[in-house]
Amino acid sequence: MDSARLNRAEKASSVVLVAFGAFIAWYSWHYLKLGMMIMPGAGFLPFCIGMILAVLGAAWYARTLLAPAAPRKALETGEAGGAAAGAESARSVILSRLLPGVLLVVLYAWLFEKAGYIVSTVLFMVGWQKLVEREEWVKTAIVAVTSAAFMYVLFARLLRVSLPSGSWWS
């Protein structure tokens, strides 16, 4: 992430942190109750943490405001083009690798108990090799089957972990 984008992301995150801290403090005070100083209630520590988070968020925002900005001249000249190209490339990597990767993991989690360990793992590995790594079918099949088998032997046989057989099939 280039410094200008990081600065913008930090500003937005610090505002979110202030709001989050305020929510935690309000929730702790309203629902969990603070109790008395001699006998603090369930909400006392979370209330303090919420207040601290809000203050830290404000301090973080102030610090990002005071941080030196990228030199204007550099932005007006060649570096502006470079930064734009960098941002474009980062966006492309996110769309081509990170997003499919995260979605595959979520799908794997959803299928894990429903389709069972073997089917969900093989499907996940195939999806990963094809969508994230763009591998050819033969290599994809070999990697998917061997890694699913290796993990099965390791967890189910050696470590005796109970893996789901799939609620769809039972």
Partner: protein, 498 residues
């Protein structure tokens, strides 16, 4: 004498076939995973944490975790030297001269001196741990709730202020770690906190899931985006035995690094990082040819590697004697002890002497195992650094998903894992260091309980934390350290040489 007899009983436990086997497995697997590019000791331990559920004996489980910790530290040196890719901040300085040596065809010498230095420093560090830990534990027996609270809070704050990264961000991590630890049933009032009607949240977040998500999955998501093609300097490492010239240049660096690492490593927060940096600076200062530093000076590998391994040994002192983990890796061993029903702290040596002495004795043996494993097998570890990310990433995801599911057998833990993974990804993007989050999460229950007990003792007055001598001394020590660091920063900023 008590120490000696304790150590003898520790060896009788560590030398049983099952404990020897698990120490060996820990060292081997820790090294193998620690060698994989991008995975530091914290990520390695996080990935392997579920293994403790399949080991029934607590002492065996902790011996396994200690072996994994040491193994991953060794593995981290290999990636620093061969790939210029430090697995953690403590290995950054090893890259400077280690990678240069590898590029000049001296990878074997760099890996060999790193292994020998680590062995010497690790062993001396364990001797220090053996001698000092019982004394500190005895002193800490007098600690009541106010002292425990001050110790935990000062330890957490030191972990942030001495880590060298942004203090505001470090404090945010601490606060979020404490907040995550408070989710679930309040142990005193029995009220449910922040579960929002989700039944699985009533027992709180699981540490293993959090650690695997933030360190394991978060690292993979970042790796996906970065898609870095690492350049392996060489996989032909040659002889790992240092020449007489190498040995002459390194032996004092190893000893100095050991002393620096041991004493700095006891301090919570960045012990291994600071000690490796200090060691590198000292070696450069005392070197006859300082201009060779940065160009492949063997002292630049020997000193910092010894320092960070001595620090790894001494970082067990606050864990085993005070119940305070000083860094993320040690926090995971802390959590492993808790999972096995053992509370680390001053009572550990009295209530569970077999764990205390068994772990210390196994560390001596584990260090020898690592030397034996690392020198002959260094070529194999070098080959492992070539495992492509495209293969490593999905296999690690399988590890984390199956590992988190195996804890309670519920899909909710997998969703939590993914949530923590995305959280870890965002933290890294915003330049947050996740270590303090994990530290605060494991210490959270102790902080809250000791604070509430202290307030009950004092009739609701916070003054109790500054009116009891030990508590006041801890706070004073922290204030002196912060003032010293601030003075150093101001001096550097206004120094005429700057």
């Amino acid at each position: 004498m008590e120490t000696f007899s304790g150590l003898i009983s520790g060896f009788s436990i560590a030398l049983t076939p099952i404990n020897l086997l698990f120490a060996f497995i820990g060292a081997l697997v820790g090294t193998a995973i620690g060698v994989l590019p991008g995975l530091g000791p914290a990520a390695t331990i996080a990935l392997l944490l579920p293994a403790i559920y399949v080991v029934s004996e607590p002492v065996t489980a902790i011996i396994l975790m200690a072996g994994i910790f040491y193994g991953s530290m060794y593995g981290g040196s290999t990636t620093s030297i061969l790939l210029n890719l430090p697995g953690e901040a403590a290995s950054v300085v090893t890259c400077i001269d280690g990678y240069k040596m590898a590029k000049k065809g001296r990878a074997g010498a760099a890996l060999g001196i790193a292994a020998i230095g680590s062995f010497v420093a690790g062993t001396i560090g364990i001797v220090g741990l053996t001698l000092f830990a019982p004394l500190i534990a005895e002193f800490a027996l007098s600690f009541g709730p106010p002292e425990k609270f001050s110790l935990a809070v000062v330890g957490l704050l030191m972990a942030v202020t001495l880590s060298g990264s942004s203090i505001i961000k470090g404090l945010v991590m601490l606060a979020l770690g404490l907040l995550l630890a408070s989710v679930g049933l309040d142990p005193i009032s029995g009220k449910t906190r922040f579960s929002f009607g989700v039944i699985e949240l009533q027992s709180g977040f699981d540490f293993v899931t959090l650690a695997m998500g933030v360190f394991g999955l978060g690292e993979i998501f970042i790796g996906l985006e970065a898609a870095v093609k690492v350049e392996v300097a060489t996989t032909k490492v040659g002889s790992v035995w240092p020449t007489l010239k190498d040995w002459a240049a390194s032996r004092m660096a190893i000893l100095r690094g050991t002393l620096i690492g041991f004493f700095i490593g006891v301090i919570p927060g960045g012990g291994a990082v600071i000690s490796s940096l200090v060691s590198y600076a000292v070696e450069k200062k005392v070197a006859k040819h300082p201009e060779e530093f940065g160009e492949g000076a063997i002292e630049g590998v020997a000193g910092p590697e010894s320092a960070n391994n001595a620090a790894s040994s001494s970082s067990f002192i606050p864990l085993l004697t005070l119940g305070i983990p000083g860094n993320a890796s040690i926090a995971m061993i802390f959590a492993a002890l808790l999972i096995k029903g053992i509370t680390p702290g001053p009572f550990l040596i009295q209530e569970h002497p077999e764990v205390f002495w068994g772990v210390i004795a196994s560390m001596y043996l584990g260090n020898v195992m690592l030397l034996v494993l690392n020198l002959p097998l260094v070529g194999l570890w070098a080959q492992l650094t070539r495992v492509p990310f495209g293969l490593m990433a999905p296999v690690i995801i399988l590890f984390t998903v199956i590992g988190s599911y195996s804890i309670q057998g519920q899909a909710f833990d997998i969703y939590s894992l993914i949530g923590f993974g995305l959280f870890g990804y965002v933290l890294r993007k915003l330049k947050f260091e996740p270590g303090p989050l994990v530290l605060a999460f494991v210490l959270g229950p102790m902080v809250e309980q000791s604070m509430r007990q202290s307030l009950l003792m004092s009739g609701g007055s916070f003054l109790i934390f500054v009116t009891r001598p030990i508590s006041l001394s801890l706070i004073g020590l922290f204030a002196v350290l912060v003032a010293g660091q601030a003075a150093l920063t101001i001096y550097k900023r206004f120094s005429p040489n700057n």
